[in-house]
């Protein structure tokens, strides 16, 4: 394993987070079994107190997932020099079979933690903890995913061995060893451009419609999910090349570097926040009917939809600006 400080940092903090989440879900399990709001017994009071701890833990996990997503990519990027053929993070992640799965897990867990926090927020606004059971079942389901992510990440890093001169007889990597340069497959640009425009319009429109009429939250949620996937594919397909001003450069990670004015950060933040809030809006709809939430959920959904629309709009604007000012003509 490569004993790089950033790797130690990631492994250590992921490990701590996993422990916290397992601890939280253990209490979640107890809450699901023993919750009884009507009773004033000290056991019930204790459970109610615990819910604060669990919410706090999950809030931290959410923030951590976001940061660790970027730190993970950054680490992969800075390690690329240690592997033949790896030009940036894309190459490093390809070194063994765990690199990309970990990235996907981090992304999914970030979204799930975000959903949990949205559900938690709604639950707390209801005077009888209406969503408590659902919430904690959700948590119990989320915990194994986080643990699995930590395990895979550990395996990934343990499986990284730098291509360095290791013995006096030396090894030549270029020809004898495998190269990890990855050709990130990309879809044809014209088709993706159309798909991108369509999906952005769809999500922003459905968001505005929802804010105005209060209907169509499932549409918004679906459109957000689609927007995420289409955007990621578009970044690979044509957005990347325009920003890099190089038709063959498809890497989605190089956007995060200084050379491109760190444009990747606002882009990914906007994309992720838009997706979480858009899908979260749809997530809350089944709970509108609960009596204690009837007054709370619609307002909350409108706020989430607004954030979603704003985020996707920002995302689109930044991209359009970069495309317009790019020196590339494709």
């Amino acid at each position: 394993m490569i004993l790089h400080p950033a790797i130690i940092a990631l492994l250590l903090s992921s490990g701590l987070m996993s422990i916290l989440v397992v601890y939280a879900s253990w209490y979640g399990f107890r809450i699901v079994r023993k919750w009884d709001l009507g009773s004033g017994s000290s056991a019930q009071l204790e459970l109610e107190r615990r819910t604060y701890l669990i919410s706090t833990i999950l809030a931290y996990v959410f923030g951590f997932q976001l940061f660790s997503l970027f730190l993970y990519v950054y680490t992969a990027d800075s390690l690329c020099t240690l592997f033949t053929g790896a030009m940036c993070a894309a190459g490093t992640l390809n070194v063994n079979g765990y690199g990309y799965p970990v990235l996907i897990f981090k992304l999914v867990n970030f979204l799930l933690a975000g959903f949990w926090l949205i559900v938690n927020y709604a639950d707390n606004r209801g005077y009888d903890y209406p969503l408590i059971r659902f919430k904690y079942f959700f948590l119990i389901g989320l915990a194994p995913l986080l643990v699995e992510e930590t395990v895979l990440q550990t395996r990934y890093f343990l499986g990284l061995h730098a291509n360095i001169i290791t013995s006096c007889c030396g090894t030549l990597f270029s020809s004898t060893g495998p190269s990890v340069a990855s050709d990130l497959s990309s879809f044809p640009a014209p088709a993706m451009k159309i798909a991108f425009v369509c999906s952005m319009s769809a999500v922003i429109t459905s968001g505005i419609v929802f804010m105005w009429k209060g209907k169509g939250s499932y549409l918004l949620a679906a459109a957000s999910a689609a927007a995420l996937l289409v955007s990621l594919a578009s970044l690979l397909s044509f957005i990347g090349p325009y920003i890099y001003e190089l038709p063959t450069h498809h890497c989605p990670f190089c956007l995060l570097q200084k050379e491109y004015t760190y444009v990747g950060y606002p882009l990914y933040f906007a994309l992720l926040s838009g997706t979480v809030t858009g899908m979260g809006t749809g997530l809350l709809t089944p709970f509108r009917k609960r009596s204690s939430l009837a007054g709370v959920v619609p307002g909350l959904q409108k706020k989430l939809a607004a954030i979603s629309v704003f985020s996707f709009a920002l995302f689109t604007l930044i991209i359009m600006y970069r495309l317009a000012t790019s020196n590339l003509v494709m």
């Binding site: 490569i2 130690i8 940092a9 250590l12 903090s13 701890l53």
Partner: protein, 376 residues
């Protein structure tokens, strides 16, 4: 509205921290120390890596060494002719260099022949480390023993500038005939071969051709050297970080202890807050800001101190471990280098464990029953 609430709570948090200066100072000191140690290691390793790669940029693209029974052997002149025949290769040169042990100071020098330097026989250029070790200055006489016991006096033409100390500290540059005289290397033999490849992408192909034409050689590419250096620095840096996890662990325990060991005064205060209308989440918020203020102070101070330590005192505390054992320490000033990535890593190594350690104790504090205040 929300902003005003945060401001109110931060207000109260700061006043509350001030009221418990003693306890908090101890924590901040330990926290700062941990950040300082970790940051120093990271800054130092990173700066060295950058220095090494900057300097290696001028290293030859491809070096060909001859191996015999796993050991390094001299390269016969005819190998150069063979290498020259390979397509895409330019400027093939034979290099002469070796190690010289000086019993007077117990140091190893690297003696190298440089055609560009164009030394006349008897003239040498020495690196600043060598000059320091032998207390020699320009135009002094510098005596070396040959392989067969004779001594040759050389004259120091000049001393290499200190900006290049990292690679040149232990160097002695001399003319080819002098080299062969000192080491007894027969004419027609070189230590190794360096060459340039016209198209950078072809380096690998050229290297494999060399191996097939000259099976007892091993070609080393510059990229491989860079990778190895990177790895070594990373590894050494990582090793120290791993050792420091002991310190981080102790720090976590201190943090946890401080957070859970609420004095009766503090407990009373929180009880009062709850009693007059603060919710558990408000108290949790206060604890969050408390942690943030402490973390921010310690993190920034630790980084600042580490920056000064590494870039102004050249890592006085660490140098021995990370540079390796040697009599000739290059004296050099590291180029200050800071990037957000380092800061992020440090954040994960210090602030995250601190936060995790204080989550449960903070929660315990925040869930104090207001009732308890009524009956005290």
């Amino acid at each position: 509205m929300w902003v005003q609430k945060q401001r109110n709570i931060i207000d109260f948090t700061i006043s509350s921290l001030n009221r418990r200066k003693g306890k908090n100072t101890a924590l901040v000191l330990v926290y700062t120390l941990v950040v300082f140690l970790l940051a120093s290691v990271m800054f130092f390793t990173q700066a060295l890596k950058r220095e090494a790669s900057r300097v290696l940029r001028d290293a030859p693209e491809l070096v060909v060494q001859r191996m015999s029974a796993g050991r390094h052997e001299l390269v016969p002149k005819k190998y150069l002719a063979v290498v020259e025949t390979i397509k895409g290769v330019s400027s093939v040169r034979g290099r002469l260099w070796g190690y010289y042990y000086d019993p007077v100071v117990g140091a190893n020098y690297t003696i190298i022949v440089s055609e560009e330097a164009g030394h006349a026989p008897g003239d040498i250029t020495v690196g600043s480390g060598v000059a320091r070790a032998r207390a020699a200055a320009s135009s002094d006489i510098f005596v070396l023993r040959t392989y067969d016991g004779a001594t040759i006096p050389f004259q120091i033409k000049n001393i290499l500038p200190s900006d290049s100390e990292l690679v040149s500290s232990d160097l002695i540059i001399m003319s080819e005939p002098d080299y062969r005289r000192v080491f007894g290397t027969a004419a027609g033999y070189f230590t190794d071969i360096t060459l340039k490849v016209r198209n950078a992408k072809e380096v690998g192909t050229v290297a494999s051709k060399i191996v097939s034409l000259l099976p007892d050689t091993r070609p080393i590419t510059r990229r491989e050297i860079l990778r190895t250096y990177d790895s070594v620095f990373d590894w050494r840096g990582g090793l120290v970080v791993v050792i420091l996890t002991g310190a981080v662990l102790a720090f976590i325990i201190v943090a946890w202890d401080k957070a859970s060991g609420l004095s009766s005064d503090e407990k009373k205060e929180i009880g009062i807050l709850k009693a007059v209308g603060w919710e558990t989440s408000d108290v949790l918020l206060m604890k969050f800001w408390e942690g943030t203020v402490i973390s921010l102070c310690s993190f920034l101070t630790g980084i600042l101190l580490a920056y000064v330590h590494v870039f102004f005192t050249s890592a006085a505390l660490f140098a021995p471990v990370l540079k390796g054992w040697s009599v000739l320490y290059p004296e050099f000033r590291l180029v200050p280098f800071l990037d957000p990535y380092q800061l992020a890593t440090l954040f994960f190594l210090s602030v995250v464990p601190y936060t995790v350690a204080t989550i449960v104790p903070s929660w315990h504090a925040a869930t104090i029953d207001p009732d308890s205040v009524m009956r005290s």
